[in-house]
């Protein structure tokens, strides 16, 4: 029976094996479910290579093939030097969570509250996340969203949403 430690010893690059397995599953779903169900094929085709399904199917099979090779690579190839680059020293969870909050602010409030308001709010959240300790830097959180919105809307004529209260 293969134990977890045996498995770990045999796998030279677990990252490649995991990535390979995920891509293998994805390619199976792609070839056998997504392509047949989410691409309509015309009733009459003069050449199967003209079909809208042809290239996605080929790509799907190639992903399947290469994901198997990636899994094998994970078992056979020692990429420990590359692994070092991939490993990062994680920071505090608070910083990361606040960054996610800032992203959600942009997605959730951008259209309803306007570019300036969400820009200010999200930038303040990110300043707090790090945190930025120089007090006057917080004024940037107000200056930049206003200035950049002005450049987009007034100078470059690229429309951005404006809040109901007028900015």
């Amino acid at each position: 029976m293969i134990t977890t430690s045996d498995f770990k010893r045999r796998v030279k690059d677990p990252g490649d094996v995991v990535a390979g397995i995920i891509l293998l599953c994805f390619s199976i779903v792609l070839v056998f479910y997504l392509v047949p169900n989410y691409i309509n094929e015309p009733a009459i085709l003069q050449n199967p290579m003209m079909s809208p399904r042809w290239l996605p199917e080929i790509v799907g099979w190639l992903i399947l093939l290469f994901s198997i090779l990636l899994i094998l690579q994970g078992f056979l190839l020692d990429r420990s030097s590359e692994e070092d680059e991939r490993n990062i020293e994680k920071g505090s969870t608070r910083r990361f969570v606040l960054m996610v909050v800032a992203l959600l602010i942009y997605v959730a409030l951008f259209e309803s509250m306007g570019a300036v308001f969400t820009g200010i709010l999200a930038t303040l959240v990110l300043f707090v996340a790090h945190p930025v300790r120089t007090w006057w830097v917080y004024s940037m959180a107000f200056v930049f969203p206003i200035a950049v919105t002005f450049i987009f809307v007034e100078v470059m004529n690229v429309p951005l949403p404006i809040a109901p209260i007028g900015f």
Binding site: M50, P52, L55, E82, G91, N157
Partner: protein, 501 residues
């Protein structure tokens, strides 16, 4: 003569000069800040170009590209942190020079070699792009089909790290490029009933997501590192020192031009090849790696010699040579232009106006570079904790501006997460983007060939050009396999040696 006056008319506008100047400044500033890349800056600047004239828009992006190539060397020299991967070679001699109190000399050497290399690269672009485009006018759909196959294989085979991952990234890029309505039959492909996806995935949110968001996520995920302050001190570069480096600079520039003209090879390879060539030939070879000014010049010449040359396949064949030219290709498309041989027939004046702008950008780079050396410490002292919230704001505004739809912000975020996963799994993002761009071209030329040949597959081997591209494609795959096998053998030998020890 009529064309010439039209070129002058298109080029000599305040907008174009401003676009080049602003572009180079942004490029140098962004390139000199570690963590911010020229690719990211070009992607973020793209939405700003929507309302601009095509020439000014392209020149802005080209300016950022060129400024970014030079800017990367500043931090490499001063704080041993390359602003871009291509500047990694510059620090080998640049940083020891800075430690010996010759930072200013190293920065000046980097600037002058960058400008000379950029100029030589631009000349090569002007001469070869038109010539190549003339040849490419004889290409039909089957020739383009094989050209795209060749470009895909060469880009993937030269992707850094694992070849399998490069291939996988390119395949995922091709797959996602197929989302939307099929151009021939109008069938929906992977739209899942979402009308936002009918017109395929928006290029700009994808771009911003892939190249800007992962850096931001990584910054907030990683442990905060102390901010390092930099200072450019010491004497500048003397004329005799520049003269001594001149041969190295010209040779490095030519290496950069050759490498840049081949899609997918990139500036990093050019910098290292130029550096090792200079070390092999130099009488001061013993001083290389310990603070040799020729080493800085060689690395920067190779690195910047690529900039103009990567535009050769883009303008003449419509094939992007690297990620930045892929973004510039997107900019052409946003402005209703399709680079390629036909552009040399239909928009010749515009092409020559672009050439003039690109030449002018070398002069601007010289001026801006000199100022950047003087005031650099101000730029480098902006901490990332202040910079990244503002970069994120640009990302969101830029993504939204494409279609005025929050859906594009979601697309940007999704590709940002994907880019972050790519980084963590060491999957290169460049083949993904190239696959995304070349995927529809591949399918389009395949189908057109079949239609022209009445479904007869012999159309794909119809003449010497197709055979030449088939040979190049097979050669490129063979080279990639050879590199893969050699790397495996070397790794095995190294492992065996370490076990013996």
């Amino acid at each position: 003569m009529e064309n010439f006056s039209e070129v002058i008319e298109i080029f000599f506008s305040l907008d174009n000069f401003l676009a080049i100047a602003i572009g180079v400044v942004i490029g140098v500033v962004v390139g000199s800040i570690p963590g911010l890349t020229a690719t990211m800056a070009v992607a973020l600047a793209l939405p700003f170009t929507f309302s601009m004239q095509p020439v000014a828009a392209i020149l802005l992006l080209v300016g950022i590209y060129k400024g970014g190539m030079y800017g990367g060397s500043i931090t490499a020299i001063l704080i041993r942190t390359p602003g871009s991967p291509a500047s990694a070679c510059t620090l080998l001699d640049g940083y020891p020079m800075a430690q010996q109190g010759h930072a200013k000399k190293a920065l000046k050497a980097a600037l002058y070699s960058s400008v000379i290399a950029d100029f030589i690269s631009n000349i090569a672009l002007i001469f070869f792009a038109a010539y190549l485009a003339k040849i490419a006018l004889n290409f039909g759909a089957p020739e383009f089909f094989w050209l795209i196959c060749f470009s895909l294989t060469i880009i993937i085979s030269l992707a850094s790290g694992s070849m399998i991952k490069g291939l996988m990234a390119a395949l995922l890029g091709i797959l996602l490029s197929l989302v939307g309505l099929d151009e021939v039959f109008g069938s929906q492909r992977f739209t899942f009933g979402n009308y936002n996806l009918m017109d395929s995935i928006s290029f700009i949110p994808l771009l911003i997501g892939l190249f800007a968001i992962p850096e931001i996520i990584e910054f907030y995920r990683k442990k905060a590192l102390p901010h390092i302050k930099a200072k450019a001190s010491g004497a500048g570069l003397s004329f005799s020192e520049l003269k001594r480096c001149l041969t190295t600079i010209v040779r490095g520039s030519l290496i950069g031009v050759i490498i840049g003209a081949i899609p997918g090879t990139g500036a990093t390879a050019a910098a290292f090849i130029s550096y090792s060539d200079a070390r092999r030939r130099s009488p001061n070879r013993a001083n290389f790696g310990k603070g040799e000014v020729e080493g800085v010049a060689a690395a920067e010449a190779g690195n910047n010699g690529v900039a103009g040359a990567t535009m050769i396949p883009l303008l003449s064949l419509g094939i992007p040579g690297d990620v930045i030219t892929a973004i510039i290709l997107g900019a052409f498309m946003v402005h209703g232009l399709t680079p390629g041989p036909l552009m040399f027939q239909e928009n010749l004046s515009l092409i020559y106006a672009l050439f003039m702008g690109i030449m002018f950008s070398s002069v601007v780079l010289l001026l801006v570079g000199n100022v950047a050396i003087k005031y650099f410490s101000l730029i480098a002292d902006i901490p990332k904790s202040v910079l990244f919230p503002i970069v994120l704001m640009f990302c969101v505004y830029g993504a939204y501006a494409v279609n005025n739809d929050t859906f594009d912000i979601w697309v940007m975020m999704a590709f940002g997460v994907m880019g972050y996963i790519f980084n963590r799994a060491a999957i290169p993002a460049a083949p993904f983007l190239i696959g995304f761009i070349l995927g529809p071209m591949f399918e389009d030329n395949l189908r057109r060939s079949l239609l022209i040949g009445h479904n007869d597959l012999s159309i794909f081997v119809r003449g010497p050009i197709t055979w030449a591209f088939i040979a190049l494609t097979v050669g490129s795959i063979s080279l990639a396999l050879y590199r893969f096998i050699s790397a495996r053998r070397e790794a095995r030998n190294a492992a065996a040696k370490s076990q013996e020890v």
